[in-house]
């Protein structure tokens, strides 16, 4: 472990990410005021996904981690997505 590289991330980058997260939060609230029908939820989820990506990549240092750690996170999300899809095999065809 001692031999691994440690990255020093400038504060400026963290502040940019924080601003992006706040802006996306306001956008996900604002979208509920627009009549988009069933796309409203899809829009809010899209903003939430971008925010998740930013948090994982910068705040949780995935950008600087080894590829297998990234692979693990992708695997977990794949399981999550598959679980949702399988659940909807019931709801969409009931």
């Amino acid at each position: 472990m001692e031999n691994e590289k440690h990255h020093i991330v400038p504060y400026r980058l963290y502040i940019f990410v924080l601003i992006a997260l706040l802006a996306l939060t306001f956008l996900s609230i604002a979208i509920t005021g627009i009549e988009l029908g069933s796309l409203t939820v899809a829009g809010a989820l899209a903003f939430a996904s971008v925010k998740t990506f930013l948090v994982l990549r910068y705040f949780m240092h995935l950008k600087y981690d080894k590829p297998y750690i990234v692979a693990m996170v992708i695997f977990v999300f794949a399981i999550f997505v598959v679980t949702i899809v399988v659940t909807f095999l019931d709801y969409l065809y009931r």
Binding site: V76, L89, D90
Partner: protein
Amino acid sequence: MNSTSVANEANYLKYKGKYKGLLGWIFSTDHKRIGLLYLYSMAIMFSVGVLLGLAMKLELLAPGKTIMEAQTYNATFTVHGVIMIFMVVVPGLPAVFGNFLLPIMIGAKDVAFPKLNLLSWWFYVAGVFLVLSAILFGSGTPDTGWTFYAPYSFKSGTNLLPAIFGAFILGFSSILTGLNFLVTIHRLRCPGLKWTKLPLFVWTLYGTAWIQLLATPVVGITLVLVALERIFGVGVFDPALGGDPILYQHLFWIYSHPAVYIMILPAMGAISEIIPTFSQKHIFGYKAIIASTMAIAFVGYLVWGHHMFTAGMSGTAQYYFSLLTFLVAIPSAIKVFNWISTMYKGSINIQTPFYWAVSFIFVFMIGGLSGLVLGALAANIYVHDTAFVVAHFHYIVFGGTGFAFFAAIHYWFPKIFGRMYDKTWANTGWLIFFIGFVTLYSPMFYLGMMGMPRRYYDYLQEFHGGNILSTIGSWILVTGFVIIIVNLVRSASKGPKAEMNPWHGKTLEWTVPSPPPLENFDEIPVIEENDGPYNYK
């Protein structure tokens, strides 16, 4: 593999740290002591669960009321289920043998986060007390069954909230243990111990840890939603408020079906250690067993709906879940074929752990094949919620995890306590237990096929014979259980001293003294290119 010389160091049982006596145990961060804390806690809860099961079988000795009212029976099977599932078989082998052996098997001094490991046990104890408080205090013992199905779980007038919160806290214990094991296996393997040289028990702990980490939060949140439903009437599951009770079943089984694999995978891992040792032969199909372990862990996520075939799910979902259920049987069968092939032409050394291991294969196969009956859509509708399901479940979970647990305790007992048990009594206990098990649960297959529903305290006269046989089986089983426990408890302090490697095993735990020293190894072992966990000549 390399041996170590640590004979002069105090062993973990005698080591005196900052605290003495009981405090030296309950505040110890040593993985071996934490493993034993789980063993003792789970043994107490298992005994309580056995007594409740015994009471249920006594009630079913004759039609009508025998020793308890219907409401008491409902509470008894609920508490029996909650204790046995959440406090015994889910923590099960990982909490006891995983904690004790994982670091030693990978050549490490402890798990990656020892303090978090101790916290896991404290969460376990807190969860146990919360569930017990639901039984002892408030407006009646919970009567929903261990599945807490909606909408009854938020309409029942019994004291359900502490039980739900207890199960939630027990989930935290499971998640933290899984996280700890994942990091430990990734980060603390000794030099030369590649993934393809890991003992199979470690591989199964790895697969299990992923399930613990990913599936347990789902049931945690689901139970919180039930609590919110009871307190505030939020309407997620309540059809009267626009909610969907089937959603509860989806969420519950998204965790609870993978939880079956939390229970059974480490059991398979223990059997995969025992059979090569007592056959003195390299395990057959090492990589196939690893692949099947990970396949079970993955496919096991995607078959939860087979618990809900009669709940009102869509036909499309039913076909999907039935197909996937048949697929998950394949990796389990691969393991069985590999174990049997390992024994073929081996130098079989028939000892108590081997008896448990081969009887595990026998009962696990019956449990697994009866699972295929339940996985088939048409047959499922016929036997759903009958005694057939109870028989299948107990053949898999008690016959699988339970038999593997007894196999594991008899296999690693000399390592854990540094003493050997009385083999004659151990074999006698196994034989009586096995006969009792088969007598107890086999009649339930027949009773279920004849239409006897589960969770009823009464039944028709035509089911009387099968129930008498089953109840007698429960008495035989408990006799065997008492013999086993008395023999082990007595031997832990008074048995003859055990050798370092009494079974001639090849994994790293057999290279350290019995019982192991505090930090396991004087020097971290190095695994050479030609070393391996099953390299028998």
